[in-house]
């Protein structure tokens, strides 16, 4: 991949990011923060590369530490997002526990 290809990908991705984030409903802005947290841990790719190579032990251990940190984020971020999203529910219309007006 030459530099211009990468630049093109980056520029177009910025457009996509702009549109996709604006289309997120405000009610889900907290999950948005959590999930961007999780996906920004894609930096784990760099951490894995560092910890895969044995040549420089210092770098390797730093890499492993980064893997731990990024993993906390990945698992924590996706899990907490999942937990939040599971809570968003629509009004259950068919089975109403108590019809309005009908209560005591």
């Amino acid at each position: 991949m030459d530099f211009i290809s990468i630049l093109s990908i980056f520029v177009l991705a910025c457009f996509v990011g702009y549109y996709v984030v604006w289309s997120v409903t405000p009610a889900l802005h907290t999950p948005l923060m959590a999930v961007t947290n999780a996906i920004s841990s894609v930096i784990i790719v760099g951490a894995l590369i560092a910890s895969a190579a044995a040549a420089v032990p210092g770098a390797k251990w730093l890499g492993l530490a980064a893997v731990v940190l990024a993993s906390i984020n990945i698992f924590g971020g996706f899990a907490v997002t999942e937990r939040m999203l599971a809570m968003y529910k629509k009004k259950e219309r068919p089975v109403k526990p108590a019809a309005p007006e009908a209560g005591k």
Binding site: M1, I6, F10, A13, G17, V20, V21, W22, S23, V24, T25, P26, A27, L28, H29, T30, L32, M33, A34, V35, T36, N37, A38, I39, S40, I43, I44, V45, G46, L48, I49, A50, S51, A52, A53, A55, V56, G58, A59, L62, G63, L64, A66, V67, V68, L69, A70, S71, I72, N73, I74, F75, G76, G77, A79, V80, M87, K90, P100, E101
Partner: protein, 479 residues
């Protein structure tokens, strides 16, 4: 071997394709959030994308010790999962800030690792030195990561209440900050051009990272607690751009796409918050907001008359009403009153009262904070309305029930040009026939530290107590 490996990266189309697919999965992850119904599917896409990125990296690199890596992932994964499961929903802002600092630190570690072992990253030039462009990207990545780390730590401490939310103003802070920033830029340039470009060779890199850590602290401590969410978002954005920079180095589409997504997300959320507070981004970053008014603001007004009410009064009024609009704010989160609130709403509905929720874009301490809490308490999301959708309805509402919100209801934002929150869009609570205003004391002002004229109006009844206790009382009185 360094060069060879980059070439391998460029040549094997399947690897590049896999990273592209991972990037697209991340796009779908955010796209899902356009709607609560599609959001969970979106999250699955995100997980799939991450799995693809990790597996692709593992299978395309020679790995010296897969066991260590798996252990590292297991340790991190366990910590993450346990935290995610245990954390209270009300602690979300802190959690996001904390997670955030980890990403920052991870970025620093990766940058340092690349500096020590550039060969593995394929950024070693033919002369045994790290490529100049990679040195710039590495330095920037590490510096942004360090700023993200130390900034997020402070944000975490302030949001968690472990540290006073009040801004800490050093003398001459703007000068210091600018000097440190300038220092980082100069060091980056020197580092890129320096002769000593071998792995781990140049001391400049270390100084740079240390300075970046320092500036992270310096930049954030003068910023008041109420502005922290903006700062967290801003740091989020930065970390995205850092990931993108690393993606440029590694020619990795997944990282570039992610970087652009996260970068945009953070920037847009910061923008939305600043707009909802009617503040400029610069003024947030310059810091010092909410410094003075807070403590003294409360003490003066107690000599003006105001009406107090009990849980029974509130219950009586609301039972008679046709429509009630509930306005939750940060106080509801503090008191964890969302479940009791939902019970109260159910009881009211049984009495034939129509109940809606009105959410200000910056109610609470992070965007969407109130929505999450209400969702946690099983409030259906179609009863919850954004400011612009419901603001016109206050004029017809019998009762506005303000629970732990303050700044976002302050009519001074509309009328008082001298108020620090003048021009901020607010919920037109004052137009409702009756306002029930629930907070703990007449003294405590909102985060902006501004007095709220609403307390002293004729049609306002103050309910002074902890939100949870008061709402529990109302629920009992409604039976």
């Amino acid at each position: 071997m360094g060069i060879v490996e980059t070439t391998v990266h460029a040549v094997n189309p399947w690897v590049a394709l896999a990273y592209l697919v991972a990037g697209i999965c991340f796009i779908f992850a955010l796209r899902g959030l356009s709607n609560p119904e599609s959001s969970r599917k979106g999250n699955r896409f995100g997980m799939a994308g991450m799995a693809i990125a990790v597996v692709t990296t593992l299978v395309t690199h020679e790995i010296a010790g897969i066991v260590e890596i798996l252990i590292a992932i297991a340790i991190g994964g366990t910590i993450g999962l346990v935290t995610a499961r245990r954390i209270a929903m009300t602690a979300m802002p802190q959690l996001v800030a904390a997670f955030h600092s980890l990403v920052g630190l991870a970025a620093v570690l990766v940058g340092v690792a690349a500096f020590l072992n550039p060969e593995a990253f394929g950024i070693l030039g033919g002369d045994g030195n790290i490529l100049a462009v990679s040195r710039i990207e590495m330095a920037l990545g590490a510096a942004i990561g360090a700023i993200t780390f130390s900034g997020s730590v402070i944000a975490f401490l302030k949001l968690n209440g472990s540290m006073s939310g009040a801004p800490i103003l050093l003398p001459a802070r703007h000068v210091i900050n600018l000097a440190v920033l300038g220092g980082i830029i100069v060091l980056t340039a020197l580092f890129a051009m320096s002769g000593a470009g071998g792995p781990g060779e140049s001391p400049l890199f270390w100084i740079l990272v240390a300075l970046a850590f320092a500036i992270g602290f310096l930049l954030i401590i003068p910023i008041g607690g109420a502005d922290m969410p903006v700062v967290v978002s801003m740091l989020n954005s930065y970390s995205g751009w850092a990931a993108a920079a690393m993606g440029f180095t590694l020619h990795n589409t997944a990282m570039i796409v992610t970087g652009a997504l996260v970068g945009s997300s953070g920037a847009i959320l910061s923008y939305i918050m600043c707009k909802a507070m009617n503040r400029s981004f610069i003024s947030v970053i310059a810091g010092g907001f909410g410094a003075v008014a807070g403590p003294e603001g409360g003490a003066v007004k107690i000599d003006r008359p105001w009406k107090a009410g009990s849980a029974e009064d509130a219950a009586f009024l609301m039972k008679q009403a046709e429509s009630v609009i509930i306005v939750p704010g940060y106080g509801m989160a503090v008191a964890q009153a969302q479940h009791a609130l939902r019970e109260m709403a159910d009881k009211l509905k049984e009495h034939g009262v129509s109940v809606k929720y009105a959410i200000h874009p910056v109610a609470g301490r992070m965007p969407g904070h109130m929505n999450v809490l209400l969702a946690e308490a099983n409030v259906p999301y179609d009863e919850v309305f954004e400011l612009e959708d419901i603001n016109s309805e206050f004029a017809q509402a019998d009762i506005a029930f303000v629970i732990g919100a303050n700044d976002v209801t302050n009519p001074a934002a509309k009328t008082d040009k001298t108020s620090p929150i003048y021009g901020m869009p607010v919920l037109d609570v004052d137009k409702a026939k009756t306002v029930l205003f629930l907070k703990r004391s007449m003294g405590g002002a909102g985060y902006a530290g501004v007095e709220n004229e609403l307390f002293f109006r004729d049609n306002t009844m103050m309910l002074l107590a902890d939100a949870k206790k008061m709402v529990d009382g109302i629920v009992k009185a409604l039976d």
